[in-house]
Symmetry: none
Subunit: 255 residues, 2 copies
DNA sequence: CCTATTGCACGTTTGTGCACGTTTACGTAC
DNA sequence: GTACGTAAACGTGCACAAACGTGCAATAGG
C-alpha cells in the first residue's frame, strides 16, 4: 500500500535523512527491515550521509548531526521532557488503531514520535498535529474542521464537536490544561471543555499526558471538570503520594 | 489504461514531469513500460529534464528537484518566483474579505505573505496554509475537515466539499495543476476537481496563480475541466500570444 | 533532402548481498 | 574494579546484476 517495492537508492538516503531529522536517531536494523535491504546497504547509506556531514555515525545506527536545532535550550529541555512522556504514552498505542489527538504542544511531540507502518488513523483538530504525520507511511489523517482558536492551535467550536461525534476512536489524547485527582481535567474555556469531553466519550480509552506544571494541588478554576480519563502519564520523579491518589481514583498511572 | 498508442517525445517529457510532481519520484523502468519505449529513451528524457533543472537525476530514475537539499538554487528560484506571483495576487485582496485558499505550495507561500491587520478570514483545507496565518493579528482561520490526501496536502473528500458549500467567500485561490486557454483548469484526480469547482462556485472571484510549468499547450488529461476562473496570475516573461489567448477567453491576466 | 528520435550493442559505473575477520558493547565471574 | 566471554555491529573484499553513457544504424516525418 504505502511501501513501494521499488525504492531508489538516493531516495532511500533522503528518507533516512528525513526520519533522522524527525526522530533524532535511526537504527540500522530497523531501516534495513523497513526498506527491505540488507544492513550492509543501510550502513553504506549512513556512511555516505556521515561523510557529507549530515549525520553522526554511532554504533547501531546514526544520530542527528548537531547543527539544525534552532530551539532555545530552555525550550529544548521542555521538549526533552515531553518527548520522554510521549515515549511512555506510545506504549499504549497498538497497530491499526484510530487515535484522537487534541491540540497542544505535548500532543504535537507525541504525533511526531508515532511509529510508521502501523496503519494508524490520526483524527485531530490541530493543523500542526496533522502535518506531523501527514505523508508518512502507514498513516491516515482526518482533520476536524471549524474555526481555529489561535490560543489553542486547533478548532474547538460546535462544528468541530459535531464532526468529532461522528467518529469512533480507540484511544484519545486530550490536551491537558490542569488536572487533579479529585476533579479530573479542567480547561480555561467552556467550549474547550465541551470538545474534550466529546472526543473522550467517542473513544475507548483516554490517555492524559501531564507535565509537572499541570498537576495542580488546589482547585481554582470555574469550568466544569472533565471525566473519563483512564490513563495518566507523568514524569518519573513525580511525588509518590500524588501518584497514589490518582491510582486510588481508578486511573492507571504510567511513569 | 491511460497509455496512448502514440506519444510525442516532448509530450512524454511533460507527462513524466507531471508524474514526478505528483509522486515525488519516477522510476525509469516503470516509465519505459508505461510509455512502451526503451529505457534508453526514458533516460534521455530524464537527462534533458535534469539539464533544465526540473528534476534530480538519480540511479534508477529521478527525484523531484524541489526537496530538502538546502543547496538547491533551483528551489530558491522557484520559491522566489512563487513569491513574486503571490505578491501580484495580493493586490486583489481587500480588507475584511473572506478567502478560500486551496492546498498547494504556491498557496502556502501566498498565505505567509498575506498582510496583518486586515481582518481577513482564511478558509482552507490545508493544514500548512492554516498554520501560515494562525495566530497572526487580524486573521480568522476556518479549517475544512475531512480525510487528508498526502499527495495534495489537504482534504478534498465529499465531507470537505460539503463544509465548503456552507461558506460564502469573496476570493478563491484554487491550487493549479495545469491550465490552458481552451479547457481551463485541470487536476489529476476527479475528487480534486469536484472540490475546486465547489470552492470556486462558493466564491465571488477566482484567482489562479500559474507557474510557467502549469501553462501547458496541449490537452492530455482526462478529468473534466474546471470553469469559473476570473483572474490569472502569471510570470512577467510569459509569452504574449499565450496571454492574449487567455484574455480572449475572458480572463483578467496579471503579470 | 534533412532532422529528430528511436532501439540496439558495447563497455563502464553503481548498487547490492554474501563471506570473512575485526571491533565494540555488555553482562558475568572473579 | 578488573578480566573475560559472547553476541551484535562493523569494515572490507568480491562477485553479480542492474543501470548508465556512448556510438551507430534504422526509421519516421517535414
Amino acid at each position: 500500500m504505502n511501501a513501494p517495492d521499488t525504492t531508489l537508492p538516493r531516495e532511500r538516503q533522503q528518507l533516512i535523512l528525513e526520519r533522522l531529522q524527525r526522530d533524532g536517531k535511526v537504527i540500522a536494523a530497523d531501516l534495513a527491515q523497513e526498506f527491505r535491504v540488507s544492513e550492509d546497504s543501510i550502513r553504506r547509506d549512513l556512511r555516505d550521509l556521515a561523510a557529507q556531514g549530515l549525520c553522526r555515525r554511532v554504533y547501531g545506527g546514526a544520530l542527528l548531526a548537531v547543527n539544525i536545532p534552532p530551539l532555545g535550550e530552555r525550550h529544548a529541555e521542555r521538549t526533552e521532557l515531553k518527548r520522554a512522556l510521549a515515549r511512555t504514552a506510545l506504549s499504549l498505542v497498538g497497530t491499526g488503531q484510530i487515535l484522537f489527538i487534541d491540540a497542544g504542544s505535548t500532543n504535537t511531540v507525541l504525533a511526531k514520535m508515532l511509529p510508521d507502518h502501523h496503519d494508524l488513523t490520526v483524527v485531530t483538530n490541530a493543523p500542526d498535529v496533522a502535518l506531523a504525520v501527514l505523508g508518512r507511511p502507514g498513516f491516515d489523517v482526518i482533520m476536524l474542521g471549524g474555526k481555529l482558536d489561535p490560543a489553542i492551535g486547533g478548532a474547538i467550536g460546535s462544528r468541530t464537536v459535531r464532526q468529532a461525534q461522528d467518529i469512533r476512536a480507540d484511544l484519545c489524547f486530550p490536551g491537558v490544561c490542569a488536572i487533579d485527582p479529585q476533579r479530573g481535567l479542567w480547561t480555561y474555556d467552556e467550549e474547550e471543555t465541551v470538545f474534550k469531553q466529546a472526543i473522550i466519550e467517542a473513544s475507548g480509552e483516554t490517555v492524559a499526558i501531564a507535565t509537572p506544571d499541570k498537576l495542580v494541588a488546589s482547585a481554582t478554576h470555574h469550568t466544569a471538570p472533565i471525566t473519563g480519563i483512564s490513563h495518566l502519564v507523568v514524569a518519573s520523579d513525580t511525588d509518590a503520594a500524588v501518584v497514589a491518589r490518582y491510582r486510588a481514583a481508578g486511573v492507571t498511572v504510567h511513569m
